[in-house]
Symmetry: C2
Subunit: 298 residues, 2 copies
């Protein structure tokens, strides 16, 4: 039986660790939140007091941390990597810039261990139901070795390439499309508002036409509200489109639409709306064009 060290028992990490237990893996888990560690123990896992302790004697180390900086701290500064079995595998599942992932992978591989760059999509629902989409980049042999672990957490496990950083690239591309799709809905609405078109009817028509997108249907209705429920904040796209442009800079690829969309999210955050729902990037179009009275608070 393979024993897995699991770092990061948050709203997604904890149910993912539960699914590893259900699949028959041993799990040694660590999180700064001790209540999460307790819940893992209740489910049959082993709680650890530090990341280094969680990694001790394990065959694979899963990182579901907040960002690349935390992954580096856990692996190298804290030294969890040294505790992982020789020939063991590190699976980095957090969303990180591709270039940073490539560097981390090289440093891990230099110790003789394997590295899987495998960010996820599907949110908490996918984490709980073991229905995550997992975009894995790794040498084939490493991917094959890690596959049973990944398949315990997701039902759509893709091997997107042999080079670590390519998984992060797929996730980055996903965020590029999402960010531009949200901003362009706001732009389309700005033109329609000026011409006095009813946005409810417009949204209904666009949702059923070739102009449709997942984001149009999801964020469009919230753009019609002055202060909608926050399902994902403006500042998430300030960060994620920042990662997109960092990836483009590292790879020297011009990304003009993503660059423009980023400016719109930046301005929205800069005016103090960074914590608002990301649909509220439309406020920047309204401010810029004077298209309607601003929602209260602006």
């Amino acid at each position: 039986m393979t024993t897995i060290g699991f770092i990061g028992l948050g709203s997604m990490g904890l149910p993912m660790a539960f699914n590893l237990l259900k699949a028959g893996f041993g799990v040694r888990g660590f999180d700064l939140r001790t209540d999460a560690v307790g819940l893992l123990e209740d489910a049959g896992g082993t709680g650890a007091g530090t990341a280094v302790d969680a990694a001790r004697g394990t065959d694979a180390l899963v990182l579901m941390v907040v960002n690349a900086a935390q992954a580096e701290t856990v692996l190298f500064t804290d030294g969890a990597l040294d505790q992982l079995a020789p020939g063991g595998i590190v699976a980095l599942m957090a969303t990180c810039p591709p270039g940073v992932v490539t560097d981390l992978a090289a440093r891990v591989e230099a110790t003789g261990r394997g590295f899987v760059d495998c960010p996820v999509s599907g949110g908490v629902v996918g984490a709980v139901g073991a229905t995550l989409t997992i975009m894995a980049a790794a040498r084939r042999s490493v991917f094959e070795a890690a596959k049973p672990i990944l398949e315990a957490m997701g039902d759509k496990v893709y091997h997107v390439g042999e080079e670590p950083g390519q998984g992060a690239t797929v996730k980055t591309v996903n965020q590029l499309l999402c960010g531009v799709h949200i901003a362009v809905v706001a732009e389309a609405f700005a033109l329609a508002v000026r011409k006095g078109v009813d946005l409810g009817i417009l949204l209904e028509i666009m949702s059923g036409s070739s102009a449709s997108s997942w984001m149009l249907k999801d964020r469009g209705p919230r753009m019609l509200m002055a202060d909608p429920e926050i399902t994902s904040a403006v500042d998430i796209f300030v960060k994620d489109l920042g990662i997109v442009l960092e990836a483009g800079r590292d790879a020297k690829v011009a990304l003009p639409l993503a660059a423009v969309a980023h400016q719109l999210f930046l301005a929205t955050s800069g005016r103090g709306d960074g914590a608002a729902d990301d649909s509220q990037v439309i406020r920047t179009y309204h401010v810029m064009n004077g298209t309607r009275d601003l929602p209260s608070g602006n």
Copy 2:
């Protein structure tokens, strides 16, 4: 029984005229292509030798012409409008810039006749099956009078506003979203290609994620081909994003994403690829970034 003059019996106009006949309207039709006029006669309509002749004594004049300039010529230069019954209705169904539509409407209304700005979407399939989406802007009384005519040609007839130009705006907004959605797929692929990600796998993942759009699923596969079948040409979006930006200029609304997307289609056309499938806007990313050997012919 209402008699309708129908100008423009093209691949969409002719089946639309057939559907008016099926619904019990009398139809007097004109097109420069005399074979199309003959087909209308075979179906029970009345062929006309000129636009003026088609309009003579009718209660409504449907214009399914190529562009706004043709509409103006037919109505005012040729003088078809004078033949339309006093109190009759002009229905402009071609895709035209909103500002031009507003002007045409004012000139028609000045003669005491009604004007419906009612562009369509749904293509030839929708025209044949009477399942077009029709985006109609008109004074409510005019819309109500025209509704039976419109419902003979489409099954989703929306009254999007009281001001002529608002229908054209909805169609313009539709094209804004479509054009940016196509270009951003190309941009996303450009980043992925540079990082060596397999675009087939990427497309499969994105099609099932929050990054999805109608255009991603439709144009994405054709972006992976060097010289795909042409379903809609690059030059259509050179024109349509031009109409989008003209609408923004007229209304004084900043449309930064549409402006960038237009540049990409313009460059693609300028290099000589204007007649290629619109998915081939990706060639501009490849040329610009040097991301892969260009398809033959470039």
